[in-house]
Amino acid sequence: MVISAQELRHRYLRYDKSFPHVWCPGCGNGIVMGGLLRAISRLGLEKDEVVLASGIGCSGRMPTYLDFNTLHTTHGRALTFATGVKLAKPSLNVIAIMGDGDATAIGGNHLIHAARRNLNLTAIIINNSIYGMTGGQYSPTTPFGSISATSTYGHIEHAFSIAELVVTAGASFAARATVYHGELMSRLIEQAILKRGFAVVEVISNCHVQYGRKNKLGNAVDMLNGFKDNCVTVNRAAKMTAEELEGKTTIGVLTDREMPISTVEYQKVRERAKKEQE
């Protein structure tokens, strides 16, 4: 069943919170929010059972507007708070929303350890290649050669590939989409929420205001079209050579594997402890 945008707004936006939101017109954050809400709606999750935890950044403001249990933490730390919530109440669906700087610079250590630890958590990382909120300084995903507020002569460092990074760190599920591929993105988020284990969806997004403007990538629509032209699906990528893949973004599911989940394993620890303490 397809839910209309109006129904979505009525069901999930906070009625007692004053709008407008803080985002610039055309920002990809809104598209991700819509994709997340459609995923939650399709899954039929109770609002009381959903916890949204975010860090600091433009992306981190998302939970403020949504009618769930929402937790706007400190910069980079969303996953640490989310870990505590999940351990305390494993029945809750805990979803962390982070920016690229949030998740891979200041919070990078938490991200790889969350992947390794494999709690049943969902992480959505909105990758706009820049620190949006603070005015467009380079982030760990700013491409080599790009212009930012702190790389006016061209960026000399190399970008992380977030989804690949978490695969290596041990995540149960890792996928990538862009804000152009809204339907795919929403489906991947749905899969990630359903996945038992640490599941990450990296969403390539547009910050036309900070990143796009400095790199002459046009307006929001131009940037979205750029994503369309530059993406190849995981299946197609598998048949392409490394040269052909140079500069391309692969989208789809990168890994989906079964691994022991730490809350489940910890239940076994409890049983063992009780037996030994008898």
Binding site: S18, T70, L71, H72, T80, V85, L87, A88, K89
Partner: protein, 379 residues
């Protein structure tokens, strides 16, 4: 149901903190190994799973405090324990707990600093940091433990204050208290007073997660209880939503401090010893107060009318117990294993002619009774 072992047993301070936490209803610990605090996490990693609690070793201390804030928001009383270097890393999220009014307890077993410092030596160097380490005007409660029994009972008290006032509580221990073994009989669980956060008495539609009651403390729900609300480190209105309205901001920041002021009568804890007729007194806390007690007895044996005020609460600073002493005594001695972090508080509240004398050691050595005695008889 958790059963406390009440028979006499030999425990070290760190172990007693772990037992105190369980007795207070703590069911989650997140931490990162560090000397001289590690025994707390080691023991809790053994005991917590046995009471359906959770132990987790996080990737660092920033993550540890993040995890216990998250767990507390989901309704589980939570603890972390560390020492100076880890405590430094916790400062940002400590501020979050202050502003989002999340009850948590943090143990800092102090060791010599600054930086990596003296990992296995005692110190009291983190006192002012505990009070002012995180940025902005904020309330915290800082308690000091001096014995193994203290470690147990003050940990229970710390959780009770955290829950009742929705405030982070910091327990300052030191290497001496942490590793000294003493014979103690812990009270039975039914004799321990345990306080839990107050739940709202209104339905979800009426609930305001950041509206203080007559004590300035808002009621608290757990995530998943049906009272969906927003928690943020941004300054927020009574509903929890970010605000920059100067009237709301001012009211919020002042309420945070006022709720602690309104609780002074029970938060400020001290213990007096031979103070009735004292002409000179020692003000001490933590392990040093043990030395001070014995020095005071020696001084009395030699005809000096000496007394001791042991501070259990360091912050809010127990002005109402210290001021009468300053009025009644000729001189006050403040021995500390730092360069004078509490003596400056004593001087701050001193409006009299009373002489405040400092005695400080920062060489990683414990302050002995005879050192304090020597100072006392000079006064």
């Amino acid at each position: 149901m958790f059963e406390q072992k009440t028979a006499r047993q030999l425990l070290q301070g760190n172990e007693a903190i772990a037992h105190g936490a369980l007795a207070a209803g703590c069911r989650l610990f997140a931490g990162y190994p560090i000397t001289p605090a590690s025994e707390i996490s080691e023991l809790l990693s053994v005991l917590l799973p046995g009471v359906d609690g959770t132990f987790i070793q996080m990737e660092d201390e920033i993550a540890s405090i993040g995890a216990i804030i998250g767990a507390s928001l989901a309704g589980v009383k939570s603890l972390t324990a560390t020492s100076g270097p880890g405590f430094s890393l916790m400062m940002e999220n400590l501020g979050f707990a202050c502003v989002a009014e999340v009850p948590i307890v943090i143990v800092n077993v102090m060791r010599g600093g600054p930086s990596t410092g003296l990992p296995t030596s005692p110190s009291q160097g983190d006192v002012q940091m505990a009070r002012w380490g995180t940025h902005g005007d904020h309330p915290v409660v800082v308690l000091a433990v001096s014995s193994v029994m203290d470690c147990f009972s003050i940990t229970v008290t710390a959780f009770n204050i955290a829950e009742k006032y929705r405030v982070p509580v910091i327990i300052l221990s030191d290497e001496v208290v942490a590793h000294t073994r003493e014979c103690v009989s812990l009270p039975a669980q039914e004799d321990i007073k345990v306080i839990d956060r107050i739940k709202p008495s209104v339905p979800p539609e009426w609930y305001k997660p950041y509206a203080g009651d007559n004590r300035g403390v808002p009621s608290m729900v757990a995530f998943g209880d049906g009272y969906r609300h927003h928690v943020t480190g941004l300054i927020h209105d009574e509903k929890g939503y970010p605000t920059q309205n100067s009237r709301e901001v001012d009211a919020f920041v002042r309420r945070l401090t006022r709720k602690i002021t309104l609780g002074f009568h029970e938060i400020m804890m001290t213990q007096g010893y031979l103070l009735e007729d004292a002409e000179v007194a020692v003000i001490a806390y933590g392990s040093v107060s043990r030395s001070a007690k014995s020095a005071v007895e020696d001084a009395r044996d030699h005809g000096v009318k000496a007394g001791l005020l042991q501070l259990i609460t360091l912050f809010p600073f127990p002005r109402s117990q210290v001021v009468p002493l300053l009025k009644g005594c000729r001189a006050i001695l403040v021995p500390e294993m730092n360069l004078g972090q509490i003596s400056r508080e004593v001087q701050r509240v001193n409006q009299t002619a009373c002489r405040v004398v400092k005695y400080n050691r920062v060489d990683g050595q414990f302050i002995t009774p005879s050192e304090i005695y020597e100072e006392l008889i000079k006064m």
